[in-house]
Amino acid sequence: MQTFADGDEVDLVIVGAGAGGTVLAQRLARHGWRIVILEAGPFWDPDRDWVSDEAGSHHIYWTQNRIIGGENPVPLGKNNSGHGVGGSMVHFAGYTPRFHPSDFETFTRDGVGADWPISYEELKPHYERVERELPVAGQHWPWGDPHGYPHAPHPVSGAAERAWAGARAAGVEMRVGPVAITNGTFGNRPHCIYRGYCLQGCKVNAKASPLVTHLPDALAHGVEVRAGSMAARIETDAAGRCTGVTYLNDGRERFQSAAAVAIAGYSIETPRLLLNSASARHPNGLGNNRDQVGRYVMVQGASQVAGRFPETLRMYKAPPPEISSEQFYETDPSRGFARGFSIQTLSPLPIGWAEHVLADGHWGLALREYMRDYNHWSVLGALSELLPDPDNRVTLADEHDDHGLPVARFDYTETDNDKANIAYAKQVMREIWEAAGAQDILTIDRYAHLIGGARMGFAPESSVCDADHRVWGIPNLFVADGSALPTQGAANPALTIMAESSRLAERLIAKRVDANAHRDDSSTPAPV
C-alpha cells in the first residue's frame, strides 16, 4: 500500500472507509488523485477476524457509546453502523434496491419530506455502474424505474417459499433480490454458500462490501487507508478553508494535511465530527451557521411479522435477504398517509429471533417454548419510509468517549404519518401470512437504517451541503455518505450512497466542482 507522510499535503483526505468513502476514493484514485482514508476501525481480514456467530461479531459494529433519546429512541450498536474498513456494509444484509424517481421530489409530489437538488436521472448511470461492480443478483425489477440485474436471481429457502406463496395468494407481487451477493464466481470472489451469516460479515467474500468491491482497486491506484485512525477535528484556516484533519492513532494526536476533505462517517458520526470541529471562526461547528448540522436524521420503520408453519423451514439457511416487494412504495391517498413501504424477507438467526419473541412479550417458560419452535417460523420485515423532521437530530452529549471526544446524542420521535405507515405495513404483512396459511403470527416494531444529518439541499438555510456534496461556506469540504441524503424512500440505502459518491467523483474529475473555488455561505450553487 502507498503511504503518505502527515505533512505531505494530499489531494483529499476521506474520513471513513465505508460505502460512500471507498467508492469516492476508488474513482478519484484512477484519475491520479493522491488520497488518504482515515478509518477509525481495523483493517479487516475476513478469514482471521470474522466468525460465523452472532454474539461473537460485536467487534464489527460501532459500539462506542452513543446516547439515544426522544419519544421513540432508536437502539444503535449492532443494529446500525459498522466500524472498520468496509464500513457498515461489512454487516449489512445485502439488499441493494435503487430509490424510485419519486424519492427525489417527495415535497413536490406529495407535500412531505424534501426535494433533492439532484434527480433520479442524474444518478441512474451510477446506479447501473455500481450494480455491475457489486454485482447485484435478482429478477427483473418492475417497480420505480424498471430495470434488470447483472446476475441471475439466487435460489430461495423454504422460509422465503412460504412467504412468496402467501404474497401471491394475497395479491402482493414479490421478486427475488436485489442482493449484492455473487451468483456465480466473480473475479476472485466465490459463489455464496447459503450459510446465512450475512449480518455477521461474509467470510466467503460472496457478499459485497467496499472491502472486497472497491477498496482493492483503490489500493492498486495508490490510495492509503490508515486504519485505527479516529478523526477528531477538521481544521480550517483564517480564510475559512479546511486544511486537513486532526486524528488519533495509537493514542497519539496527529494531523494529516490535505487540499480537500470528504467526510464519510455515516449519519451519526458525520454530524458529530462537524460539531466537534467547532473553532473560533466556526463556534457552532463546521457548516452549522444556520443550525442545520445533525437535523433530519431518519430511520426506516422496520416492523417484523413472523408466520408459523407446521413444516420445518430452518430460516437460518440462505442469505437473510431473499425476496422483496415494492408494490406499496408510492403514495396511495386511499391508505391515509403519504409515501409507502417495501416488504422483504429477513430470517433472523437464534439471538435475533429471541429478541423478536421477547419483544412480543414472552419470557421464562413461554420464551423457551417459542424458541424451541425456531425452525417453524418465517419472518417478513417492512421498510416504511419515515419522514425527515428537523427535531430528529444528532447533537453532542455531555459524555465523552475513550479519546476524550464528546459522543453523539440521537433523539428520535415518530410523526403521525410515520405511525400510520408502520401500522398499514404490518397489516399487509399479516395478510400475507394469513394467505400463506400460517397457523400463528407474531408482530413486533423496530427500526433500521440511518440516513441524513448533513443533508444536501438548495440553500444553507435548510441544508448542510449543496448538490455537489459541498458543505455550505467551506469550499473544500464535502459530505460523501448516507448523511447527505435528504429522504430515504422505502429502499435500503447502501446502493444509493455508493451511486452518489460515484456521481460526485465524476463531477470532481470533470472539474465541474472545483474543490478550490471560494464561495461564501449565502450563495446558491451555480446551475450545473
Partner: protein, 242 residues
C-alpha cells in the same frame, strides 16, 4: 447460586409440568435442562467442519466459562436467580448466563448505545440487583434470591410491565431496564451451543455451507425434529405468559 425450584422432581421419562407433554429427553449432547425437540442433535459433533476462528469462539463458551469478576456475592445471588427465572433454567445443566454477562461488564464491552434517561450498562445491572432485593423485601422476603419462585416471577412481571416504583426504581426506568438486561441475557443464552441443540439450529456452516434449503428439508448431518407443537396455542393453554 440458588435458583427458584418448582419442587417437581422428574419421574422416569414423565414430562414435568413446565414442559409440553411428550417433549423428549435429550439422548445425545447437552441441552439446558436436558429437554428439547431434537433429542439426537448435538451441534458440537460438527466442530471439525467449522473454521478455526469460529470454533475457538464457540467452544470457549462451553470449555472456558469466565470467572465472576464484576459482580459481588450478593449481586450474584440476586442476578443469578433473575437470569435463571427469565430463561426458565430450573435445574442443571444450566447455561451459565450470568458468567458471560459478568465478563462483558468486567471487560467494559459496550452495546453501543445508552438511553438518555438511564445510567450505563454496568450501573444498570448493579442497580437492578439492588432494586430486585428492595422489592423482595417490600414483599416480606429477606432478599430476591430467598424469595421463592412465585415472588420472583411476580417481581419480574412487574419489571417487564414497568410497574416498579420507589427506591432504585426512581433512578431506573423498569421497562428500559428490562430491554437493556434482557438483550444481554438472550445474547448469552442463545449464543451457547447447548441452546442450539435445544432448538435444532444447524450452527456455523463455513466453509461447508448449506445446500438443502427447501421446505421440510435438512442437511444429512442436521438433527431430526422429534416433537412439534405450535407454541402460540400451547403457551396460551398452559398459561405460561406471566
Amino acid at each position: 447460586m440458588s435458583a427458584p425450584r418448582n419442587g417437581h422432581e422428574e419421574r422416569g421419562t414423565d414430562p414435568r409440568p413446565e414442559n409440553p407433554k411428550r417433549l423428549p429427553r435429550q439422548r445425545r449432547g447437552v441441552v439446558p435442562q436436558m429437554r428439547g425437540r431434537y433429542p439426537d442433535w448435538d451441534v458440537l459433533t460438527q466442530v471439525d467442519h467449522w473454521d478455526e476462528v469460529t470454533r475457538r469462539v464457540v467452544l470457549a463458551r462451553v470449555d472456558d466459562v469466565p470467572p465472576i469478576r464484576f459482580f459481588d456475592e450478593s449481586e450474584v445471588r440476586s442476578l443469578g436467580t433473575f437470569c435463571d427465572a427469565v430463561m426458565a433454567q430450573t435445574e442443571e445443566p444450566r447455561i451459565p448466563v450470568l458468567s458471560f454477562i459478568d465478563d462483558k461488564l468486567f471487560c467494559g464491552r459496550s452495546e453501543g448505545f445508552q438511553y438518555a434517561s438511564m445510567p450505563d450498562d454496568q450501573e444498570t445491572w448493579r442497580l437492578l440487583a439492588r432494586g430486585l432485593d428492595e422489592r423482595a423485601r417490600s414483599l416480606e422476603a429477606t432478599s430476591f434470591a430467598e424469595a421463592g419462585v412465585d415472588v420472583c416471577i411476580r417481581i419480574i412481571g412487574e419489571l417487564q410491565r414497568g410497574e416498579l416504583s420507589g427506591g432504585v426504581w426512581e433512578r431506573l426506568d423498569p421497562q428500559l431496564t428490562w430491554k437493556v438486561v434482557m438483550s444481554s441475557v438472550l445474547d448469552a443464552f442463545y449464543s451457547h451451543p447447548w441452546a442450539w441443540n435445544e432448538i435444532g439450529f444447524g450452527g456455523p456452516a463455513y466453509p461447508r455451507g448449506y445446500a438443502r434449503l427447501g421446505v421440510g428439508l435438512k442437511e444429512a448431518w442436521e438433527g431430526e425434529e422429534a416433537f412439534e407443537l405450535d407454541p402460540v396455542r400451547d403457551v396460551d393453554e398452559r398459561g405460561l405468559d406471566l
